[in-house]
Amino acid sequence: MITTKTKPQLEVLEAVIIRFVGDSGDGMQLTGTQFSDTSAMFGNDIATFPNYPSEIRAPQGSLYGVSGFQVHIGSVEISTPGDEVDLLVAMNPAGLKTNLHAVKPGHTIIVDTDAFTKKNLEKAQYETNPLEDDSLENYRVIQVSMTSLTKESLKGVEGLDNKSITRSKNMFALGMVYWMYDRSTEHTEEFFNKKFKSKPSVIEANTRVLKAGYNYANTLELIPTAYTISPAKMDPGTYRIIMGNTATAWGFLAAAEKSGLELFLGSYPITPATDILHELVKHKHFGVKAFQAEDEIAGIASAIGASFAGDLAITTTSGPGLALKGEALGLAMMIELPLVVVNVQRGGPSTGLPTKTEQSDLLQALYGRNGESPVIVVAASTPANCFNYAYNAAKLALEHMTPVILLTDGYIANGSAPWKVQSVNDMPEIKSNLVNEVTENWHPYNRNEDSLARNWAVPGTPGFEHRVGGLEKDKITGNVSYVPENHEYMTKIRAEKVKRVQNYIPNLETEFAETGDLLVIGWGGTYGSLHSAVKHLYEEEGYTNIGFAHFNYINPLPKNTEEILTKFKKIVVCELNNGQFSKVLKINFNGFEFLQHNKVQGLPFGNTELTEKFKQLVK
């Protein structure tokens, strides 16, 4: 039993960014998740982002096998996982090598010295041991023999093999970090008790190692200060930490319940969208029908069939999958059925960078189909609001009888953040266009006068027997029609129907300056980066002439877009692509100059690159 000394003076911080890195098998995702969950429950605002190799079992110790988890916690609003880190925990040389660049000079690195063997150093392509030369002199390096200390702390615990002993060293690191940031180990101990219910020796081992790490940090003279981050000011309510993909899945669950429809998912596995399938397939208790199809096309085809038969139907994919679904999406658009297509964007083109983030499917979403084929396009902008935009996408599809593409991206899909839990009771109503009682002169393409949505008569309902199809149809009866004027009429009405969605979506809002010298424009998953950069300039550096407008509705664009554009002298459109949204704006709004800030590295925007860019633009 190690006795706990009293803590040194706690230094209060507003926010801190910590990155845990190690081999794929070192348990860094778990370590990071535990730290962020504990902090969230303590009351901090948080944002996290995992970073793991696309190889499932990369060779041990290799540079490309490094797995990492970054967490940003604060007593202030946290909108991104952050760029440069205050603390790097590196479980091996490869982790140190690949992540050193992200550590703020003068800040702390904790390493497991036991992992800095000759072999591991060679694998990490170090010529000399960085712990022994002067390459780390700009950092505060805390060297800990974590593996040995872990083994030591587990002496006498029965039923553990060598491998499990070594594998629990991540908990030693976590224990240390808990002490350094004044966090209790309680939540993680409870987690062990639940997770390893049937394996008491594993509970004991992990708990011991966690506490050993905590106590070691306490006794270690090398750590002169511990820090604390006070709870953040957040809206009162019940919260949970949620990943973007989970939030997306839950948004659809909520929409199905609210609309009184059953949820059908037709999907084919693809990174980084598969977690939505993984999540929805669990929820058979709500009657969810999750169908893993033979390919992307069958995924959307089955969803179209389910929609025809009266389910709330969705399909989930990423860039290349959306390309494969294009023809079927055109069919859904042509026959005017409700359908949501989720595209969790990744680096493209072709196979591109499957595990990295990008926003380069915007034009594909808008235009990637044959013929005149408009669909609604919406984009979520944070891990938590994936819930709301999934819900809204379903609502728009059902109420307007059209496919909706929901764009998220790898960054927000895999990132997690606190979500103020929303009860279905508080969500807006969803009124589908289902018809039950047949009336005289009923036709499948009768439309609602305001929204132009056609009615939705589903098989099993007597009197509504009708045919739909990909051929052009008569504007009233829905029968096949090759009449030239009719085709033009139908083309226009399908476009007008989508355009009128403007009347049903919220106006665009500006944050910070409402009028001024520079309007920063973004869309989708870059919200956190752009918001925090503009906020910093506005609140900390006195740039009260910069405003920020972020788009969640891309097609149609909010009604007041032009009005907002006129309020600023300069406009810069920031996106993780080569300028796709700026093209859209140029097409729609003549007479404005849209400056661009683009990045196509598979990475999110960094805070410094943005603030420097914006400062330069308002000089």
Partner: protein
């Protein structure tokens, strides 16, 4: 609770749309047979759905006064699977052709058969692309001259039944496009069968591949060239009912009753319900006589039965009745 089904006639299933297949096309026979079969099936009109892909055959749903969707090329099995999974009470039919099912839709075709969802698939096989005006298809014969093979086709064909049974089809039937009586009966049997039923219709294309099946389907030769299989009955054929099939080693052999001491008792008895597909595959591949009728009808659990059972089990063991139960469960925390 079942409500009584109205007694329909074939007219109830004919839509008001003018049928636009070429005069003399076997598609008319298939359409009429279906319209005649439906009133015999005991299903409600509003519960019947026809889903098609692209091609001449795929215009079929427009001519049926039921729910229907003319989909996209090759993807009808996917669409139909979604319809059936969304509402298992429906009687769902897929109408497809040799190109639609086995070329562009090949992947969906094999997987829908593997899964065994309770769908009925009618495959109009005319060994040619009709709607695009005469290119060879995946069932065209080697050497066949078409617009895209002017010197003769060099791609070996699929035998649809062989492919289907290889993909675990539980129900496979084959019927000549000029045989409405048996076709009607097979449609009724397909509807009764729980699982994916595949019916291959040997459909003559009067324009681009006229006479492609005449040597087996023509009235004059039909009885001698085809063996119409019926479950539980001996494999006998011929105008004089004097020919039959026996197994000789690993091959089927045609024998004549009365020759070499062969009696009717020596003939194989057709067992469509056998799980082992070996004999069914041999029958499907047989060139003389060509096997027609229901060749395979093996009862197996359907996908939706399995899904329903799982769903019921999960529901029974779950505390989640509403999404709020899920959202507010587990690791939540309060901010005051």
């Amino acid at each position: 609770m079942e409500t009584a089904v109205k007694k329909y006639t074939f007219k109830d299933f004919a839509s008001d749309q003018e049928v636009r297949w070429c005069p003399g096309c076997d598609d008319y026979v298939i359409l009429r047979s279906m319209q005649k079969a439906l009133p015999e099936m005991g299903v409600k009109k509003e519960d019947v759905v026809f889903i098609s892909g692209i091609g001449c055959s795929s215009r079929f749903p427009y001519y049926m006064d039921t729910y229907g969707m003319h989909g996209i090329h090759g993807r009808a099995p996917g669409i139909a699977s979604g319809v059936k999974l969304a509402n298992p009470n429906l009687s769902v039919w897929v109408v497809t052709g040799d190109g639609d099912a086995m070329a562009i839709g090949g992947n969906h075709f094999i997987h829908v058969l593997r899964r065994n969802i309770d769908l009925n698939i009618i495959l109009f096989n005319n060994e040619i692309y009709g709607l695009t005006k005469g290119q060879f298809s995946p069932t065209s014969l080697v050497g066949q001259k078409t617009k895209s093979s002017p010197y003769g086709n060099t791609q070996p064909p699929f035998q649809p039944g062989e492919l289907a049974i290889g993909a675990q089809a539980r129900f496979f039937a084959r019927i000549g496009g000029n045989n409405p009586k048996d076709m009607t009966q097979i449609f009724i049997e397909a509807e009764k069968f729980k699982g994916t039923s595949l019916i291959e219709v040997l459909q003559n294309c009067v324009i681009f591949n006229d006479g492609c099946f005449t040597n087996v389907t023509d009235k004059a030769v039909k009885e001698d060239k085809q063996i119409y299989l019926e479950h539980g009955k001996p494999m006998i054929f011929g105008k004089n009912r004097d020919k039959g099939l026996v197994l000789n080693g690993l091959k089927l052999e045609v024998v004549t009753i009365g020759e070499n001491g062969i009696t009717q008792e020596d003939l194989l008895v057709h067992n469509a319900k056998e799980k082992d597909p070996t004999l069914h595959q041999m029958l499907v591949r047989l060139e003389y006589p060509l096997a027609t009728g229901i060749i395979r009808s093996f009862n197996d659990v359907t996908l939706e039965e399995q899904e329903d059972a799982l769903t019921a089990q999960v529901k029974a063991n779950s505390n989640f009745k509403k999404t709020d139960d899920l959202f507010f469960s587990g690791e939540t925390y309060k901010v005051k």
